[in-house]
């Protein structure tokens, strides 16, 4: 599992480096989460079908962390790992932000313009119920993204209507492009806020630890079906796994140069084989 995570980190760094653009910070911080979700928790078929009947679904709302999503999808078998080399280049299925438009297997909604993913996840969860499909819907959202008002429409709706086949996770790294969320627009007590909207809140303090993530996701699964949506407040570290990218918001949307890449890769030695 840790080898998988390390290789994902290499993929993230190499993707953004080769086009000198993209968002490594949040991607690195969510490497463990994506790995556990796709390698252990979700039931799905890599023979991709948009409708996703009788499988678990995942929606990425904060689409800018596409490098981690692409790496994990490729290494989980949705498309060839070599295709990661086309990230953000012309004629690629790996757009800067994920999209269904180019037909990349594993992607079910375009995201990038923030705040829309929770509504989409709720809709998919409703359809699962109508189809009498007991599989679950997972979603991931940035913490800064919660500043978008549409989230609160969706949070009110899901709580009030008891959408209980949805597990939303917040990447709670407390940073956004302009700095600390507490400096840009403080989010306040997120636990209390979600609880006030009738959500079941799980706090995951070690969001960069595969064991802790596994345990919390399993706990969340066990809490579904109780007329209440579930949110995991997942504390992560932006830039995790690369010492000079941690503890700062500077690498939210900046790619490393050649020298920085070399240093970063040295901290994450090749495991499953580079693309």
């Amino acid at each position: 599992m840790q080898d998988f995570v390390t290789q994902v980190r290499r993929d993230i760094l190499r993707q953004v480096h080769q086009v000198n653009s993209g968002h490594p910070g949040g991607s690195l911080g969510c490497a463990e989460f994506f790995t556990v979700l796709y390698q252990e928790v979700m039931e799905y078929s890599t023979d991709f079908d948009m409708d996703g009947k009788n499988e678990d679904l995942f929606f990425l709302s904060n689409g800018h962390i596409s490098p981690v999503f692409y790496s994990v999808l490729a290494r989980s078998g949705f498309f060839p790992v070599e295709e990661l080399s086309t990230f953000r280049k012309i004629d690629s299925r790996l757009q800067g932000h994920p999209t269904t438009h180019e037909g990349l297997p594993g992607i079910r909604i375009a995201s990038g313009s923030l705040g829309q993913g929770m509504s989409v996840a709720i809709g998919a969860a409703h359809t699962k119920k109508m189809n009498k499909d007991s599989h679950l819907v997972y979603s991931l959202h940035g913490d800064g993204e919660l500043q978008e008002g549409q989230n609160w429409e969706a949070i009110l709706y899901a709580g009030s209507k008891g959408v209980d086949n949805l597990i939303a996770t917040i990447d709670y790294n407390k940073k956004q492009i302009d700095g600390a969320t507490d400096d840009v627009l403080p989010l306040g007590d997120l636990k209390k806020k979600f609880e006030a909207f009738d959500w079941k809140v799980l706090e995951l303090k070690e969001g960069n630890d595969v064991e802790a993530i596994r345990k919390t996701l399993e706990e969340a699964k066990g809490l579904t079906g109780n007329n209440q949506p579930i949110v995991i407040l997942m504390d992560t570290e932006m830039g995790n796994g690369v010492d000079f990218m941690m503890g700062t918001h500077a690498w939210h949307g900046k790619a490393p140069n050649d020298e920085q890449l070399e240093t970063a890769l040295a901290q994450n030695p090749e495991t499953l084989g580079d693309y």
Partner: protein
Amino acid sequence: MKTYKNTGNIDTRSGFGAGLTELGQTNPNVVALCADLTGSLKMDEFKKNHPERFFQIGIAEANMIGIAAGMTIGGKIPFTGTFANFSTGRVYDQIRQSVAYSGKNVKICASHAGLTLGEDGATHQILEDIGMMKMLPGMTVINTCDYNQTKAATLAIAEHEGPVYLRFGRPKVANFTPEDQKFEIGKAVTLTEGNDVTIIATGHLVWEALEAAKELDEKGISAEVINIHTIKPLDETAILKSVRKTKCVVTAEEHNFLGGLGESVARTLALNHPAPQEFVATEDTFGESGEPLMLLDKYGLNAKAIAEKAEAVILRKE
């Protein structure tokens, strides 16, 4: 000149409601979402008949569009219902990213479009929605003219795979198209044949165009009236065939001239067969409170205005 009988004034939104009710019985994948305007959108019957397929979202249109997009994943065909303003301008980015760019099979059904919403005034009278929706790649844009056509269009869009914007309205207007019509998306309907001028109308102004054609006929001017219910994709073949014959055109719509049907027609003509054109449309303005018919008169969107522009455009022919 062929004439049409008004079988009784009725609102186009009721045609939508009747179509949705029928779809409830015939298509188990159709689901309906509403943002606190169930009565205004005439969705009550569907709600009563299929509570498990009706979703009251509350006053949260952005969330409604996103939920609709998500519902398509697994094979549902969501019909969202609210006023045209809240169906488009308020949620443009949600439609753009989660529906159009994502290629989702969502039917955005919009009532109370245009000036004829009346007394509520400009905050609710959107005159820019056709433009916003037609600019989105992959979006089909339909503006129906009467009750029967709105019902037929509602049935037809459920069979069409892809996002659709269906625009209709609040006032009771003439109902004159056949009750049993088959609605063909993207196919213009030629209502009268004529040689002197082509009148291309959409929505509530189609009946006004027929009234204008009668006035013109009395003056010895023969007008060909075309009902363009689908603004995108536009039936360019029908438009060009008519204008090649009449050599001039008036377009008529309850919408700003910027971004409307008229501009789409002008592009078609510019590329294929340049011809004089006059626009019956609002002139880059907001609306205001008032009775619908008085508003249409004040803003020049009625039979009288169409007939005047027809005579003017005929004089511009070479």
